[in-house]
């Protein structure tokens, strides 16, 4: 039997708190899960620094990747009777679902910003480069790895396959919303996925929703909206992200200044030099990053030491609302006051905007801006979701942006009472 068709002697199952069980029958999927590149995802948290706000949020990209695979497996099982479904793409869909987040690194968001990286680029490299994942995929068929990479890159010819993994209602989002809600412990994020799976229909180039299932989709859109404000964009998590970014900037700056670290930061050097090889990238997981942050608490550099101590011990920055339109002068004044106070504003004062952590809101958008969610009417016509749903239309038009100013309240309070900058800083920051 060809490798691509090989089935396990008996079905393997992973117990899963969200989907109850993740079922594996294909030898290829089982082998992919066993690779070092996939196992590495156990050491990358799904929600980065969110665990500092919601202590349960310690789940990993490994959990999520298995979940996305399981949802796609169930969608395909529902599609198998449809004349529009090509059974030959089944394994391609399952592999792409399983591997879609393979290139995520430690604390992806901050690392990507500071070191100018792109996890999608590394996903492609892992699938197409000299890795066990690549060898398994090529064993399926020569060129199969390229097909998987194209599906994940959304440039594969069969748009229906792409839309299962990536569209405005896809397996990726359906898993992370439920999983993130479960592990953070919030009561938002829940929706009737079984119902959505039952009303999904494959068309030539996209998955659409039978119009009778509109209310289940409304619930899904609502849960996206609530999860954004309650979890993903939580101001305390953003504070942790600000400190994390500042640590990385400081460490890079020190390296560029030929600062002598107590332990040579071997794992970071190619990141500091912005020439990260695949091998370097795969070696740096969150366990390694945490190890360096522990060590850097003992460094001679006071800023690096303090920032790491804040991150490790959750001594985060405080924040106030900030309006860049009305408060630009306040920013300039604060910047100078911090300098007067001997607190480096480049590391201890930051405005964080909603677009710094972009979240994929549902946008009906403009014609051909991006593909919306389409409802399939009984007469076969397609209609964009918000045109039929008042709830979705209402959410789509809501203000979804804000800006916050972050600062170390504890450090500022420690300034001597007679320090010339203290009173004015306290007045501006409501200390």
């Amino acid at each position: 039997m060809p490798y691509k068709d090989e089935q396990l002697h008996e079905e393997k199952v992973f117990k899963d708190p969200v989907h109850r069980y993740v079922h594996v029958n294909d030898r290829v999927i089982w082998d992919l899960i066993a690779t070092p590149e996939f196992q590495r995802l156990r050491r990358i948290k799904q929600l980065g620094t969110t665990y500092l706000t919601f202590h349960g949020a310690e789940h990993s990209r490994f959990n999520h990747s298995l979940g996305v695979y399981e949802i796609v497996r169930r969608i395909i099982a529902n599609f198998e009777d449809s004349p529009r479904w090509d059974p030959n793409v089944r394994l391609l869909c399952l592999c792409a679902a399983l591997l879609h987040d393979l290139g995520h690194g430690p604390f992806s968001h901050s690392f990507e910003k500071v070191f100018k990286l792109d996890h999608e680029h590394f996903t492609q490299q892992i699938i197409l480069g000299d890795t066990q994942i690549h060898r398994i995929l090529e064993q399926v068929a020569p060129g199969f790895s390229q097909k998987v990479a194209d599906v994940i890159d959304k440039t594969y010819e069969d748009k229906l396959v792409v839309s299962l993994i990536s569209s405005q209602i896809d397996a990726d989002r359906m898993d992370y919303l439920q999983r993130d809600a479960y592990f953070t412990g919030v009561s938002y994020g829940h929706f009737d996925m079984e119902r959505i799976l039952r009303v999904m229909r494959p068309l030539e180039d996209q998955v659409v929703i039978k119009s009778s299932g509109m209310h289940a989709v409304e619930d899904y859109i609502m849960s996206r909206y609530q999860m954004y404000w309650q979890v993903y964009f939580h101001p305390v998590t953003r504070s942790a992200e600000v400190i994390l970014s500042k640590i990385l900037h400081r460490a890079k700056y020190l390296y560029e200044q030929d600062y002598i670290f107590k332990l040579k930061p071997t794992h970071f050097i190619s990141f500091f030099n912005e020439s990260v090889s695949l091998r370097d990238y795969l070696k740096l997981d969150e366990a390694v990053v945490s190890y360096y942050f522990q060590l850097w608490q003992e460094e001679d550099d006071a800023i690096l030491r303090d920032l790491c101590e804040r991150f490790v011990n959750r001594r985060l920055f405080k924040y106030i609302e900030f309006n860049p339109n009305q408060q630009m002068n306040v920013w300039k004044e604060l910047y100078q006051l911090f300098q007067t106070a001997g607190i480096n504003p480049d590391y201890y004062l930051e405005v964080d905007s909603s677009s710094d952590l972009p979240y994929d809101f549902y946008r009906p958008g403009e014609e051909e801006e991006r593909l919306p969610i389409h409802l399939l009417k009984p007469d076969g016509d397609l209609v964009e979701l918000s045109r039929n749903s008042d709830i979705v239309e209402s959410i789509s038009g809501k203000k979804r942006t804000d800006h916050k100013l972050y600062f170390p309240a504890d450090l500022l309070r420690q300034l001597p009472a007679d320090h010339p900058a203290k009173e004015r800083i306290a007045e501006i920051l409501h200390l």
């Binding site: 440039t155 180039d205 860049p324 905007s353 972009p358 403009e366 991006r370 593909l371």
Partner: protein, 166 residues
């Protein structure tokens, strides 16, 4: 602080007004590919390169009163037009930015249709491939657009005309 916002405001101040979100998305992507230092992260979507980060940042600029967004109802869809405001210009003037002049490139981009810019940005997305491979890829990912050989030639010609920042 807000440097990425300021770069976009610089774009809007030079463009004066931009009609169509799709056009805006493709203009910024093409400028990025011409080495203008826009930092918005793009991914390939159904209609070519698209940046959620850009969508949200533009929304922020509108909410701050730095841009106005006019929503016009067309036959089957809405179209949005963006103009810079006085507050937006005041905000921009507070930044000392080392942004290269992009007036010439913006004028070239504004003169083109969003369909054409979708083609140009798709060609640029695959710029690691040979010309023949790019053409094959464009037909693969955009079969419904039915881009003609003439349009493809024009796209390659346009890319060679629009000068990247050195």
């Amino acid at each position: 602080m807000l440097t990425d916002h300021a770069k976009l405001m610089q774009f809007f101040s030079e463009a004066e007004e931009v009609t169509g979100r799709k056009k805006l998305q493709k203009m910024i992507y093409i400028l990025q590919k011409c080495n203008f230092p826009f930092e918005e992260k793009y991914q390939f979507h159904f209609y070519g390169p698209y940046s959620e980060e850009l969508s949200l940042r533009v929304e922020e600029l509108c909410n701050l009163g730095f841009l106005t967004e006019q929503k016009e109802e067309k036959k089957n869809f809405f179209q949005y037009r963006y103009d810079i405001t006085g507050d937006g210009l005041d905000f921009l003037h507070q930044f000392q930015m080392d942004m290269p002049d992009m007036t010439e490139q913006i004028a070239l981009l504004k003169a083109k249709s969003s369909r054409f810019l979708e083609l140009v940005s798709t060609v640029l997305y695959f710029d690691g491939l040979s010309r023949d491979e790019i053409i094959e890829k464009v037909h693969t990912v955009k079969p419904k657009q039915n881009y003609t050989d003439m349009e493809l030639d024009e796209a390659f010609q346009f890319i060679s005309t629009i000068s990247p920042v050195q």
